[in-house]
Amino acid sequence: MQTRFTGRVWTFGEDISTDHIIAGRYLTSTDPKVLSEHAMENVDSQFAKRVTPGDVIVAGTNFGCGSSREQAPMALKAAGVSCVVANTFARIFFRNSINIGFPVVECPGLREKVQEGETVTVDLAAGHVLLASGERVRFQPLPPNLLEILNAGGLVPKLRAELAAKAP
């Protein structure tokens, strides 16, 4: 799968919860397109209208805290966001993202170095973010078991492939 993403940055602060990312009132839908139209609505009502394919979200600590709703990473992915880089993530959001093949990486300190709207390149394999200024901010690459899921395109394709390999 793709491991380098170049995109325009959307910045968000600390403790962006899944209630911010996709409000409970939209959970009656499981259609990624419908969800994407309401992405981040509780924090920025213009986000869903203005986000363009390939954009990168850069956030502070504890991104995705709160509810276990998988509709949160689904909504961001369907909105065209290529990846989320946060100082830290809440655990269920992080797991859900990897499981649906949506790249998320922890890069402590990045949030303080980027500006809204600048273009950055996130390199998952090399473990760094290249800023518009030319500065490289390093991060610890994902552990092998998670990279394996991402490379397969998510947990479902990974399990499918494993089952197929076992079949007589």
Binding site: D19, R25, T28, R91, N96, N99, L155, R160
Partner: protein, 420 residues
């Protein structure tokens, strides 16, 4: 050789290892998988994995709780899909509308959760089951499909925070006030990726209904699991739920390695309130008393057990809630609903001008049955108050105990229940 935390003991057994240590990645074999409407979102990935039958239907529990009864056609279809799946898969412990409850409450009151088990569910407040001495953690829909297919999931064995609480609380102050104080101390990500264990004289003296509140809201500390050692209180609860044989004592070793220990003295501590827009924005009630409210909600997996309803009824008996306030009382399960009717609590709420609804998560996540309009202020016995959580992003939510919610409903302003 250092001892082991509760987590390490449980995950060693669940991963079929002699011992495991924090930091290790293991495959955990799931003892109990429970699900609510999120199952509907897991059906497609389950189908795509290509396995026809759930690994072990006898280890699955399903109920319907977020939207009960279904308010829209989409939800009705979701419920229909769940029903048909449970029947086709032979999931016997499917609790449909009428026999339902908020899933975290339902699984403990029916005796489905036991000490020492690995419990997984598709909801963030799965942590609540940790009060039974289990390792209970939440996951999302795709991973729920994977567990249904394989019976296992990967887990990084978490480090543990040891939270010790001692001291006697003030009148009409309980576990909700304690956990809000703890969350204020650690922050809403203070236990991120960690397990939490509670112990100390105050915890030991808490009955199960209060212990559930503590474990439940470890989610608002970012914790992966929140556990309480199993003891005589756990045993009596399991016996009453018809599962006494599943009891076993479980605690960490005295020399278990903790990442951090918090020692909290709550002697004389009064009610606490989490103010908008974060569960860690906690203040003593004196600092927010007088704030005008529009709605008071007594409900959710956190605080809508029979003891919570009794606490509210004690304050509301023979009174009327303030004329500008809507009070909504929503028991955590149908079993609690029936008990409240039997004890005359429903009558007290209705005479006080409150609504008394069927069990659902509804208002807590802004789904239905009590959604907030812009600028409205709500005091709620629930667990989260991020912007838009209970409806409009411009609404404000204060989190508090059932006593504080009832006293505030009565006066129409946030009110210290000790004087109500």
């Amino acid at each position: 050789m250092a001892g082991h935390t509760m987590t390490e003991k449980i995950l060693a057994r669940a991963s079929r290892n002699e011992v495991v240590h924090a930091g290790q990645i293991v495959d955990g074999y799931v003892d109990l998988l429970y699900m609510h409407e999120m199952l509907a979102l897991a059906l497609k990935p389950f189908d795509e994995i290509g396995i026809e039958k759930v690994w072990d239907p006898s280890r699955c529990v399903v109920t319907i709780d977020h939207w009960v009864p279904p308010p829209t056609l989409e939800v009705a279809k979701m419920h229909q899909a769940i029903r048909e799946f449970c029947w086709a898969q032979g999931i016997q412990r499917f609790h449909d509308v009428g026999d339902h409850g908020i899933v975290h409450q339902l699984v403990v009151e029916r005796g489905y959760v036991h000490p020492g088990e690995l419990v997984i569910a598709c909801d963030s407040h799965t942590n609540m089951a940790g009060a039974m001495g289990a390792f209970a953690a939440g996951i999302g829909a795709t991973e729920t499909a994977a567990v249904m297919a394989t019976g296992k999931l990967w887990l990084k064995v978490p480090e543990t925070l040891n939270v010790t609480v001692h001291g006697k609380l003030a009148r009409r102050t309980g576990a909700k006030d304690v956990i809000l104080k703890v969350i204020q101390t650690t922050g809403d990500d203070g236990a991120a990726y960690k397990a939490v264990e509670f112990r100390g004289a105050t915890i030991q003296a808490f009955p199960m209904n209060e212990r559930f509140v503590l474990s439940n809201m470890t989610t608002e500390m970012g914790a992966k699991a929140g556990m309480i050692p199993s003891d005589g209180t756990t045993k009596a609860y399991l016996e009453a739920a018809g599962a006494g044989a599943a009891y076993r004592p479980l605690d960490a070793d005295p020399d278990a390695p903790y990442l951090r220990t918090f020692d909290l003295d709550v002697e004389g501590m009064g009610p606490q309130v989490a103010c908008p827009d974060n569960p860690a924005n906690v203040k003593p009630i004196e600092e927010v008393a007088g704030t005008k409210i529009d709605m008071a909600f007594l409900g959710s997996c956190t605080n809508a057990r029979i003891q919570d309803l009794r606490a509210a009824a004690e304050i509301l008996k023979g009174e009327r809630v303030a004329s500008h306030v809507r009070m909504i009382v929503t028991p955590a399960s149908q079993a609690i609903y029936r008990q409240a009717v039997k004890e005359g609590l429903a009558e007290i709420f209705l005479e006080a001008g409150a609504t008394f609804t069927s069990s659902t998560c509804g208002p807590c996540f802004g789904g239905h049955m009590g959604v907030l309009a812009p600028k409205e202020v709500c005091i709620s016995s629930t667990n989260r108050n991020y912007p838009g959580r209970m409806g409009s992003p411009e609404a404000q939510v204060y989190l508090a105990s059932p006593y504080t919610v009832a006293a505030s409903a009565l006066y129409g302003r946030i009110t210290d229940p000790r004087g109500a």
